[in-house]
């Protein structure tokens, strides 16, 4: 049982509040180089994910890692979420997890 290192649900807006901490975000991949991915967050802003993405990458990918700047994440874990994903629901959960229901998460 260890709750010392949670990964907070974030979109681009909430990422800014968690710089230096572990976060989890889902991005729609727009561009993928060898050592970074540029993607669209669930609140439709641009995010940079640094690290080595797996190959192949699906359209939607979840990254868990450290928020190193207000616009980028240093990825530790990548999970392919497939080519269809309900971005709106995820973004709503993200808002709840940073709002009224924050105490259930962090």
């Amino acid at each position: 049982m260890d709750t010392s290192n949670p990964a907070v649900f974030v979109n681009a807006e909430f990422l800014k509040q968690h710089v230096g901490r572990r976060v989890r975000a889902v991005v729609q991949v727009m561009q993928s180089d060898g050592d970074k991915v540029i993607g669209k967050s669930t609140d439709e802003q641009q995010l940079v994910v640094k690290g080595y993405p797996p190959s192949p990458l699906s359209t939607f990918v979840e990254v868990i890692g450290i928020a190193d700047t207000p616009q980028s994440i240093q990825a530790e874990t990548w999970t392919n979420f497939g080519d269809t994903f309900d971005v709106t629901s995820f973004d709503k959960v993200c808002r709840l997890a940073n709002g009224d229901s924050k105490h259930l998460f962090i």
Partner: protein
């Protein structure tokens, strides 16, 4: 002899039913769960007895032993040690399919062991539709607010209904899948005699189906309660938001299923 035996089982059954519901939780909530002192295996979360829980997270540190598999689930709020007995071939098969790093949905029994909390899993399935993750956490939030509101409303209904303080300890029913058909977040245990009779009557499917509801004279007649008492009860129930008047001030309908 046989009857008493049956009664005993019925007793056990009714005792256990409410605490057997499968509750969606985060590891953070589990870590803060209050362990009730009378029974080592019982946890309280939002005032509700927690035994069976569901989690969605990433599987780690899978280790196979002769008759069991141990692993850790990280749901992003924390990490919880889990344990899965593998007695049958089907269990072994289910566990073999899982690799470290994949998303799983775990159902299991929450247990306190040497001061630590553990999950005795009885189902570990890979998540293949990733929308399940957001949906799980939405459910966690819903059940939390449902159970917290239930507790709050129960407390406040005690104040207004002035029931003896001994029933203050009535355990909460907790979240159940059928909850949407019940009163939204209202616990019946807190309502006094006439109030409950009236509500039960109005909640009958035949009454719920009536568009204009039920006349309060009918209630007085059917329940054999003086009409002043009915009026009192209606006023109280109306202020609690449990009933409402329909075509005139004399017809009432339950807000259940509204």
């Amino acid at each position: 002899m046989i009857t008493s035996f049956l009664l005993f089982f019925l007793f056990l059954y009714s005792q256990n039913r409410d605490s057997q519901t499968l509750i969606p939780l985060t590891v953070k909530q589990i870590s803060e769960a209050f362990q009730s002192s009378d029974d080592k295996t019982n946890f309280l979360i939002d005032g509700v007895d927690v035994n069976n829980v569901k989690l969605v997270g990433i599987l780690f540190n899978k280790a196979e032993m002769l008759t069991a598999v141990s692993f850790v689930v990280d749901d992003g709020t924390g990490r919880l040690d889990c344990f899965r007995w593998v007695n049958e071939a089907v269990d072994t098969k289910e566990m073999e399919a899982l690799t470290n790093g994949i998303y799983v949905r775990v159902h299991g029994h929450l247990k306190g062991f040497q001061g630590k909390k553990q999950l005795m899993a009885y189902s570990v399935r890979p998540v293949d539709d990733y929308n399940e993750i957001a949906s799980h956490f939405a459910e966690v939030i819903y059940v939390h607010s449902y159970n917290s509101r239930l507790r709050k409303q129960q407390d406040s209904s005690f104040m207004s209904a002035q029931v003896p303080s001994s029933s203050f300890n009535t355990p909460l029913k907790g979240y159940q899948a059928s909850a949407s058909n019940q009163f939204p977040g209202f616990n019946m245990d807190g309502i006094g005699g006439v109030h409950k009779m009236v509500l039960d009557y109005l909640q009958q499917p035949s009454c719920l189906a009536l568009e204009k509801g039920v006349h309060r004279n009918e209630l007085a007649q059917q329940l054999r309660v003086p009409s002043e008492k009915i009026m009192e009860a209606m006023e109280a129930l109306e202020s609690e938001g449990l009933v409402y008047t329909t075509i005139d001030d004399f017809h009432y309908k339950s807000t259940a299923n509204a």
